[in-house]
């Protein structure tokens, strides 16, 4: 420290720093608080998203790991159960380790069919070697071996988790009714799973049954869903894996741990997008900080000038400002972490719901990882925010002793540099265009995110240029048509571009984000609405009751299906079999439909492959299939290609008849004739059916008829065409609910920016305002002028943000969405929503002007000035 001030006074740096900083905090608590809040909100959102994502992933993986236990090799068929005799054929592999049979099932509680429980049917006598569970009897007492053995033969015995039983008020020994496939079944709660291990998986919705009971209850007598091995020696495990692959080419041989990896892969795009979106609010926060600190410097130009004349070095001034920024940023980030943790629980609920809807129907444990999990991102946020303060700190270097006292110095400085900002902005935009042309990296649109980032940065850099451009075009007209307060306000913004353009930039960024996401979501929704309308042609859709809240895994009994055909008014029944199979390293869905019915009554919308009806007819009874758009995009499948599927009868090649639009999942679907599927995969189970009614029959009365005529104990879930569509849109809206929340936060941060800027501007211009009052401006005229300023920022921010939002929406729809999910989204402007939202932003900016206006109002009156 070479300050001349500190020659005789060592702790000088600190002392002056505290005075330098705290006096300003005292003078401008609003700016300080709003900046802090802005940083905190941005960071909070990011932390919350990151933690919720982390919680969701680890909860899913935990559940998968707990379900797999110590098993390190498994054999299952492609969605169709294995014959149980395979266990006898393979039982000799027990010389290498343990071999355990597994049956899986889903069921829904009768009193709340929207919930569902996953049941693992295992050999309860041996399964403790693989999975971690502890069975309890009445009064939560651990069951003795003899007690367990007595319970074991019970053909309807189920072990539910303690957590679930407590929540439902169930006691051991009680009979509980469940929907299983399309039947109501009464199970006996023979014991509880202690709240650890398997008892904790899936947030307590995983149940155990003995394998014998599970086979009976789920209609899988003679069948197994999986064989699990625990092979201690890795060499043995590998050998066995290779042998099994050779022996059973049509079965899936895998390490159960891979399922967890697949989940992570499946969710990667979704998580990346969510995180990228949350990063924008940090970015907006960073601009707020930039704004705030540049104001702080401008407000202290005189003070710094005096300090410099007193011998304080440039370096010291920069250090002070940097230290101040750092403390501010740190405080904001810490506050943000606290908020973020609070927010994370709500985010987790929303995110979890979305993931369950779209990807994995597994209930989540509401347990957050530690903040360390978000550490990298918090650090990134901190760096971004600190980076935003550097320009202001460095700008102090330009304040020469004495010279700084001259008013308007910084304004001149800024205008001198405006062309640089504009150039940088244009460069950023050029970069944005360039990045948008690059392909995805590791399946994720990193360059797309980069492009969006550049677009937003460029936008802010171009803000001052835009303002002066706007002035040069409309300035003269404005002068003529506006009241004096309004024009003065406009000029005020222009005369202090260094600050106003930053406030504007932050708002523009937030508005652009909002507009683009609104357009993207609106377009997507409209696309889905159109798609649903085009493709859902049947009158009634029926699923087994157990499937209401879960995945399409339960099946309809052949007797139930038969009953539908006998209902008066039913013209055709279009049965559907849907299941997930491994293909080309990922899991894809097979959608096997009665094609003769679909081809004549329904339709699909083809992206390529010619006429939809003709294409569907070519699927009937033939080894042809349609590929959904996301799958075609991710695996570069074209019409006319041959797809090799490993069926129960060995590998078969099927011709791609076309690519069709499908928004039901992003991992991809092969659509084929159910008859072809059934013969190839030796599986004629049905997961749902669509009924086409004869003209003149009302769907509602047919539903009543069906419910009356179904065999007793049979329960199905019937939806009319309209109800199914509404349900689909409800899921859609639920999915995107979080994006609106995130936009709102970005906007709040931006509005805080306006509040800060205007307040500071007023305080900065106090002399000017006092003079205005002195020369005859009325109190309310000053107030109005401030409100006009806010209005100008709101208006210009909306205008620029809207225009930029259009560009960003293009990027989201055509680059980021396509690279992440692979959907074609038709452009659709959600006009009502946007005008309402932009109006709200405008009102919010006006409201943000209210506080500074009050500040201006409280400035000394004419009389006081006269006294002076």
């Amino acid at each position: 420290m070479e300050s001349t001030l500190s020659v005789n006074n060592k702790p000088n740096f600190k002392e002056i720093f505290w005075r330098f900083t705290f006096r300003h905090i005292q003078n401008e608590p609003a700016r300080f608080i709003f900046t802090l809040l802005g940083i905190a909100l941005g960071i909070a959102l990011m932390v919350a998203i990151r933690l919720a994502n982390g919680a969701a992933i680890s909860s899913f993986q935990d559940s998968i790991d707990l379900m797999a236990g110590k098993a390190n090799l498994s054999l299952s068929s492609m969605g169709v159960p294995l014959p149980e005799t395979i266990m006898k054929d393979l039982v000799d592999t027990r010389r290498l380790g343990q071999l355990l049979p597994v049956v899986e099932g889903k069921m829904a509680p009768e009193d709340n069919p929207k919930e569902f429980i996953t049941v693992l049917g295992v050999d309860l006598l041996k399964d403790g070697e693989a999975r971690d569970f502890q069975v309890l009897g009445a009064q939560d007492k651990a069951l003795t071996g003899a007690e367990l053995l007595k319970l074991l033969p019970q053909p309807d015995g189920v072990f539910l988790s303690q957590k679930y039983a407590e929540a439902k008020g169930l006691a051991v020994g009680q009979k509980v009714h469940f929907f299983i496939n399309d039947q109501v079944q009464t199970l006996t709660l023979v014991g509880l799973l202690q709240n650890s291990g398997v008892g904790r998986a899936m947030d307590g919705t995983l149940a155990l049954m003995d394998i014998a009971a599970a086979q009976k209850v789920f209609g899988k007598i003679g069948k197994l869903d999986r064989l699990d091995w625990i092979i201690p020696q890795e060499a043995d495990r590998k050998n066995l894996e290779a042998q099994l692959q050779k022996l059973y080419p049509s079965y899936k041989v895998e390490r159960p741990a891979r399922r967890g990896e697949q989940v992570e892969k499946m969710l990667a795009a979704f998580r990346a997008n969510l995180l990228a979106l949350s990063l924008v609010s940090v970015l907006v926060g960073a601009f707020l900080v930039y704004n705030s600190m540049s104001i702080a410097v401008v407000r202290r130009v005189e003070e710094i000038g005096i300090l410099r004349t007193l011998g304080v070095t440039q370096k010291q001034i920069i250090q002070w400002v940097m230290a101040e920024s750092f403390l501010l940023a740190l405080a904001g980030v810490l506050l943000g972490i606290i908020f973020g943790k609070l927010l994370a629980y709500d985010v987790l609920k929303v995110v979890g719901k979305t993931i369950q809807n779209l990807y994995l129907p597994i209930p989540l444990e509401q347990r957050l990882p530690s903040v360390v999990h978000a550490g990298g991102w918090i650090l990134l946020g901190l760096v971004l925010i600190l980076a935003a303060t550097i320009p202001s700190a460095l700008s102090t270097a330009n304040i020469e002793p004495g010279l700084s006292v001259r008013k308007g110095y910084t304004v001149v400085l800024f205008e001198r540099r405006m062309w640089m900002f504009t150039l940088a902005g244009l460069t950023a935009w050029a970069l944005a265009v360039l990045l948008s042309l690059l392909p995805p990296l590791a399946g994720l649109p990193w360059f797309g995110f980069g492009s969006a980032f550049c677009l937003l940065i460029g936008l802010v850099l171009l803000a001052p240029g835009f303002l002066s451009f706007f002035n040069s075009v409309f300035g003269k007209v404005l002068r003529l048509i506006l009241p004096s307060e309004g024009y003065l306000a406009f000029r005020n913004l222009l005369s202090d571009l260094s600050r106003s353009s930053v406030a504007l930039g932050a708002l523009v960024m937030a508005v652009a984000l909002m507009v683009s996401v609104a357009i993207m979501v609106g377009s997507f929704r409209q696309t889905v609405v159109l798609w649903l309308g085009q493709t859902l042609k049947a009158d009634l859709y029926i699923r087994p009751a157990a499937d209401r809240g879960g995945p399409m895994e339960s099946t309809l009994d052949p007797q139930t299906l038969k009953a539908f055909n006998q209902i008066p008014g039913v013209k055709y029944s279009e049965k559907l079999r849907t299941l997930s199979i491994p293909w080309d390293g990922t899991d894809v869905t097979i959608s096997a439909i009665d094609m003769n019915v679909l081809a004549n009554n329904g339709t699909v919308v083809l992206k390529s492959g010619g006429d939809a009806e003709a294409a569907l007819k070519l699927l009937v009874g033939q080894r042809n299939l349609l590929v959904s758009e996301p799958l075609a995009l991710k695996h570069q499948i074209k019409t006319g290609d041959w797809i090799i599927l490993v069926s129960a009868t060995g590998p078969v090649s099927m011709r791609v008849q076309g690519v069709y639009y499908d928004y039901s999942n992003d991992h991809g679907t092969f659509m084929m004739d159910r008859a072809v599927y059934a013969s190839l995969f030796k599986d004629d189970s049905v997961n749902g059916t669509a009924l086409y009614l004869q003209p003149g029959f009302e769907p509602d009365s047919v539903i009543q008829d069906i419910l009356k005529r179904l065999p007793s104990g049979t329960k199905v879930f019937i939806q009319s065409n309209a109800a199914l569509k509404n349900g689909a849109l409800k899921v859609f809206d639920q999915t995107f609910a979080i994006t609106y929340g995130m936009e709102a936060i970005a906007l709040i941060v931006a509005v805080l920016g306006i509040l800060t800027t205007l307040t500071s501007l007023i305080l900065e211009r106090r002399e000017e305002i006092v003079i205005l009052r002195y020369i005859g401006a009325r109190r309310n005229q000053v107030t109005q002028m401030i409100l006009w300023e806010a209005g100008w920022i709101g208006l210009l921010g909306n205008l620029m943000g809207f225009l930029a939002g259009l560009v960003l929406a293009l990027l989201l729809i055509n680059v980021i969405n396509v690279q992440s999910f692979g959907w074609t989204i038709q452009w659709h402007m959600p006009g009502t929503f946007l005008s309402f939202a932009l109006g709200l932003v405008f009102v919010a900016t006006l409201a943000a002007g209210y506080y500074p206006a009050r500040v201006a109002d409280s400035l000394p009156s004419m009389r006081e000035v006269t006294k002076e």
Binding site: G69, K88, D92, D127, G128, A146, K150, P155
Partner: protein, 389 residues
């Protein structure tokens, strides 16, 4: 004799953890069925297990097969084998069936109506090494079972079956493998009184029990990767019953002794809480032609000459005995071929017992004689003698 063959050593490295609860439970149950007093008799609406009663009408070969109306049943093969170089091995291959609830209405093959345990042990007498493995299964899709009507037992790839020539024994573990055919020069010997073997004060503390005391065995024993041709003598027991052990009894000592003059002696002592043997303890002497003589408790005397204390469990086993059968003018010195043939399952089943090969020397009518045999000692663990705090 009632024997408990539970040796989860092969699986036991992760014992004592909750994961093993089920195996532990099962073994506990098996123990409780077989050894302990299983007082609370299960309530089955439509099915009651048949109790072992005197004057059972034996029908062979039908009775070599399973008796599913009895709750507990075992087929038990123990013996000594010699390879071409003269090395001696003791072995034991036992199949257990424990009946559970028969009334469950479930067509699933996994319905646990019976549980099947199998135990395979080898004593390398020259090397003083003892090894064992076990299997436990429900019948499932052909995983384990016991046919009715003849000897046909299987538990995974361990099998015993009769093909018209003899019994075939096949078992395989990580170190040892066994592939034998055994033939008996004499017909089955009914133990106790016409095959009704009472074990306690109550008539239902009894089993139906017969033996083949002098099977001639030929076949192969795999030791590591080496396949040895072996020849030897095997003792087979088959017992089935549904009753419990006398509440006053704490364990037992069983001997199956094959003497060099081609006669055999079976003795069991049911030990009571006070250390004395129950009056129902008895034995059987079988002469060269296979004729048997029932020996009541008063017809033989036993004396413990030496004990061995397990360094693992602290249990003290009588491994050296004097057995005198005055009516047959037999005076035998019975001593363990290997001191340590203890099965320590304290970590999982909390049951510790001793089961293994014994060497016999002594006199018959004053003339020197030798022999080989198997001995089983149960209830010497602290858990049995001292109630847990």
């Amino acid at each position: 004799m009632m024997k408990t063959k539970i040796s989860p050593r092969s699986l036991g490295d992760s014992a004592n953890k909750t994961k093993n609860f089920c195996r532990f439970s099962l073994l506990c149950l098996c123990v409780s069925v077989v050894i302990l007093v299983f007082r609370s008799s299960p309530v089955y609406a439509d099915f009651v297990y048949t109790q072992a009663k005197p004057n059972y009408h034996w029908q062979f070969p039908l009775d070599h097969g399973a008796h599913p109306n009895y709750k507990t049943e075992w087929w038990y093969y123990v013996g000594h084998l010699k390879d071409t170089q003269g090395k001696r091995y003791g072995f034991e291959l036992a199949f257990f069936r424990v009946g559970l609830d028969r009334t469950a209405e479930n067509a699933s093959a996994f319905t646990p109506r019976d549980l099947y345990f199998s135990h395979f042990a080898v004593s390398d007498i020259g090397a003083k090494k003892f090894w064992y493995a076990e299997k436990m299964n429900r019948s499932g899709p052909g995983l384990a079972g016991a046919s009715q009507g003849g000897v046909n037992l299987w538990n995974e790839n361990w099998k015993i079956w009769h093909d018209g020539l003899g019994h075939h024994l096949k078992a395989d573990g990580d170190i040892y493998g066994l592939n034998l055919m055994v033939q008996s020069p004499i017909p089955a010997v009914l133990e106790g009184i016409r095959g009704y073997s009472q074990k306690g004060s109550d008539k239902e503390n009894a089993s139906l029990y017969y033996s083949f005391p002098s099977f001639i065995a030929d076949g192969q024993l795999r030791v590591g990767s080496e396949l040895k041709t072996v020849h030897g003598k095997v003792w087979m027991d088959h017992e089935f019953f549904s009753g419990d052990m006398d509440p006053n009894e704490v364990g037992w000592d069983w001997f199956g002794l094959q003497l060099s003059d081609n006669t055999e002696l079976m003795i069991y002592l049911m030990r009571q809480k006070d250390g004395t043997s129950h009056p129902a303890s008895s034995g059987t002497f079988i002469n060269k032609s296979g004729k048997s003589v029932h020996l009541s408790r008063a017809a033989f005397q036993t004396k413990v000459l030496d004990t061995w204390k397990s360094p693992r469990t602290g249990a003290v086993y009588p491994i050296h005995w004097k057995i005198i059968v005055p009516s047959q003018r037999l005076s035998l010195d019975v001593t363990a071929s290997i001191s340590d043939q203890e099965l320590d399952t304290a970590q999982s089943t909390q049951v510790v017992y001793w089961e293994g090969s014994v060497d016999i020397s002594g006199t018959k009518a004053g003339k020197d004689m030798k022999g080989e045999g198997y001995m089983e000692l149960t209830g010497y663990d602290k858990a049995f003698s001292l109630p847990k705090p």
